[in-house]
Symmetry: C2
Subunit: 247 residues, 2 copies
């Protein structure tokens, strides 16, 4: 069974990466040890060039699934949380991955002139307005976090007429062509405020995680400014880190 379909318009390197990814996943599920064939073996086996094989392996290495050792070969990294990477993950999807049922309750929406700090964060000029969307996110019915999203009104007209209880990320991409590509988050601990405590259904003076996040398109334009307050008794933040590849 040739894993590479040469008729497909999907690039060979992508097909190969996908095939190997699946094999690694399956092997891990069965508890079997599986090694990665050498680059030449893979090239011979699938009748593609070694450069193409290396392209596929590059991708898997970046994902942390494999590692290479010069002179020795390519090996499967020990099974970790490899499939939960440090990528930009929409809240809805993140809750789903943790095996919970996501829910959303819209608390308020309005079109306003932004305060200076938010105008700066969104690179807006005088007179530009923003939508503020204040929502409560739940997992299995239990409150998880409060979010305040700020989006330039110009970029997404009619946003407030849309269904805001579904994934905002998906809505922005599909209706407005806004691809959320990179983000920069600042994170700190603080005490919950009384009004927040009530909505989150936690005691007063509970510690919470407070996050401010700027999100950008591939071209580097600011799309969203997001403030959020997270319960810390129910929700841990997991970060996977790696050494710089260029160091």
């Amino acid at each position: 069974m040739p894993a590479i379909n040469k008729q497909s318009r999907i690039p060979y390197y992508f097909q190969l990466a996908d095939t190997l990814r699946q094999q690694i996943k399956d092997a891990a599920a069965r508890g079997r040890a599986m090694s990665v064939p050498s680059e030449n073996e893979l090239a011979d086996k699938h009748q593609i060039s070694r450069a193409t094989v290396r392209h596929a392996l590059d991708i898997l290495e970046r994902e942390g699934l494999i590692y290479k050792a010069r002179g020795k070969g390519t090996f499967i990294a020990k099974a970790r949380a490899k499939y939960e990477l440090t990528w930009l993950v929409p809240t809805t999807e993140d809750i789903l991955r943790r095996g919970w049922k996501p829910g959303t309750q819209t608390i308020s929406t309005q079109r306003i002139a932004p305060v200076p700090s938010i105008a700066t964060a969104l690179e807006l000029g005088n007179g530009d307005e923003v939508f503020e969307i204040h929502r409560l996110r739940t997992a299995d019915g239990e409150p998880i976090c409060l979010q305040w999203s700020y989006l330039p009104a110009q970029l997404c007209p009619d946003l407030l007429e849309q269904n805001l209880t579904a994934s905002l990320t998906q809505l922005l991409e599909e209706r407005y062509g806004l691809r959320l590509w990179t983000a920069r988050s600042i994170l700190r601990a603080r005490l919950v405020q009384p009004a927040e405590a009530k909505l989150l259904q936690i005691p007063r003076n509970s510690p919470v995680i407070y996050i401010e996040q700027n999100t950008f398109t591939p071209e580097g334009h600011a799309v969203e400014f997001l403030k959020s307050v997270w319960r810390s008794d129910r929700y841990d933040f997991v970060v996977n880190l790696s050494r710089s590849l260029t160091a």
Copy 2:
């Protein structure tokens, strides 16, 4: 002035990436707009093949410095905190990058039998012992965080006889050949404990960030388990996120 030194044993693609990185940084500092020449131009100019140019540009793209548009060209991403990436950064280095003077105060060290959770995290068997290193880290003389490091005694004999006020990461790499390659952190907010508050010089009941971090070698072996408690009034956590490349 040819940017590529063909006599050097440093790979061309690495030299080119470094040159471009510097040019982008300089241009940003001067507030100038600078575009990236086409791949063929770069290949001609430096007398190297297009494949090598692409290798260099790949690296810069992964770092978020540039982005490519098929049919149009390669462009510089808007200036962000591009140089503070989401990599695994040792505490000492992180404090330096923020422009502070790092300091370390060793509170206690001991060789102990680990509690089960730590033994599991470090993949230890019965009878294996660990070093516990409890330190207070400071920036510009002010307490920043408390750390408890746990390391398998087998991997780094004589560790407690070394100078522990310098960078532990550097010590592990240079003396014991242990390369800290990937890490998985779990992060939550909690209230500071009285003893911790005293050491950190913050009020009782202050919220703090609590982190547990597992660190691994490239082969996926556990090297270090680190618990830490961070002041949240002085230290923000910054995370840069990006979309998966394969999505």
